[in-house]
Symmetry: C2
Subunit: 213 residues, 2 copies
């Protein structure tokens, strides 16, 4: 086993152990555990910092939050009118955005071939904004859909979404979130169809437990 | 000159001629002509289907329009309350979204090194969702920012943005568009800082005319 391969295995095993720790602590977005394990099954890939899709309320001039501090509400499941209304009634500094975001996966690849194979599956599953973000000895692949919606909830002068409009808006972001979650199912299916003959040992047992193998 | 290089030169020249045709017809988004010429100056890159940022109104269940037919209004410059209001008063089929989108560039690279160099400049300029979309003999690079905003303008049951709320919303999308346009300036500056010693002949004269060389 060459030095590069050894280093790859070491990092992959670290990421694998970290995932189970995160699950234990409650950090991990459990909705995509099966997708993450399916990615781990490939010897040449491992995922990092992934999200299955979420609804947030952001206090920011613009709907792209630069810091976590701007995200004043976050949920990986459907929201209620009451939840959003409660957040909107608190004081805020800039503008409030009610956002729904599609899934994002960051995956390290051992080489360009492994990255290409993943991109092909991603495209099949409707992750149309996917690409290799960092080239080099360990390409970093981002899988991303076009799924999103950033609804202006309030400015400091004016509460934009209230009453009927808020009810409609909450239905819309929940609907977008459902689309997002479904895309994860499509990714899982596309990856399973392209499963390689040789699998990564440590993930095999867990994949059986999850019923994907 | 090898066959691969010859084919690259031929395609690049085609794209170059096409750009000036598009400009003549009025298809080209003139705001980014200097950025496009700056990309053409590199022997190993040429841009295709790029957009400097725009404001649209989309008639669709979701703010990501799959077909051009869903885009019922499009402008690469600030919009007025009256323009948006007029669009919102016409009948529509699904939901109306008032969207602002950041710049997008699609650039072909002659090889992985040329793609990497472009990605480095893009990251410097705040195009943080950039990546190589298609690997292979002619990598396709997408440069993309996180700049966006999709405001729910109306559902079939309810006009969400009207009166004061619409005035606020128009100010916000114009503000987002200004951010988008500024990012093009940053990209131009980042590319100029990283200009290679050898330039692509046909673009040199045009670059001088545009004052970027």
């Amino acid at each position: 086993m060459g030095e590069m391969t050894e280093r790859w295995e070491e990092r992959k095993l670290q990421a694998w152990n970290r995932m189970w720790e995160d699950l234990h602590i409650g950090y991990l977005d459990e909705d995509i555990l099966d997708v993450l394990v399916e990615i781990f099954l490939r010897p040449g890939l491992y995922p990092k910092s992934s999200c299955s899709g979420r609804i947030t309320v952001i206090d920011s001039e613009y709907p792209w939050a630069k810091e976590d501090t701007m995200t004043i509400f976050k949920k990986h499941a459907p929201v209620t009118v009451e939840e959003v209304d409660a957040v909107a009634r608190k004081p805020f500094a800039h503008r409030l955005w009610l956002s729904a975001q599609g899934p994002i996966y960051h995956v390290y690849a051992q080489d360009v071939d492994a990255a290409s194979e993943l991109l092909a599956a991603a495209r099949e599953a409707g992750f149309k904004h996917s690409g290799v973000m960092v080239l080099g000895s360990m390409p970093l692949v981002e899988l991303r859909t076009g799924i999103r919606g950033d609804l202006l909830l309030a400015t400091r002068r004016h509460r934009i979404l209230d009453g009927d409009a808020l009810r409609e808006a909450v239905a819309v972001v929940n609907d977008i979130l459902a689309q997002a979650k479904e895309r994860n199912r499509r990714l899982l299916a596309a990856l399973r169809r392209r499963r390689p003959p040789r699998l990564w040992g440590p993930a095999v047992e867990k994949a059986r437990e999850l019923g994907i193998l």
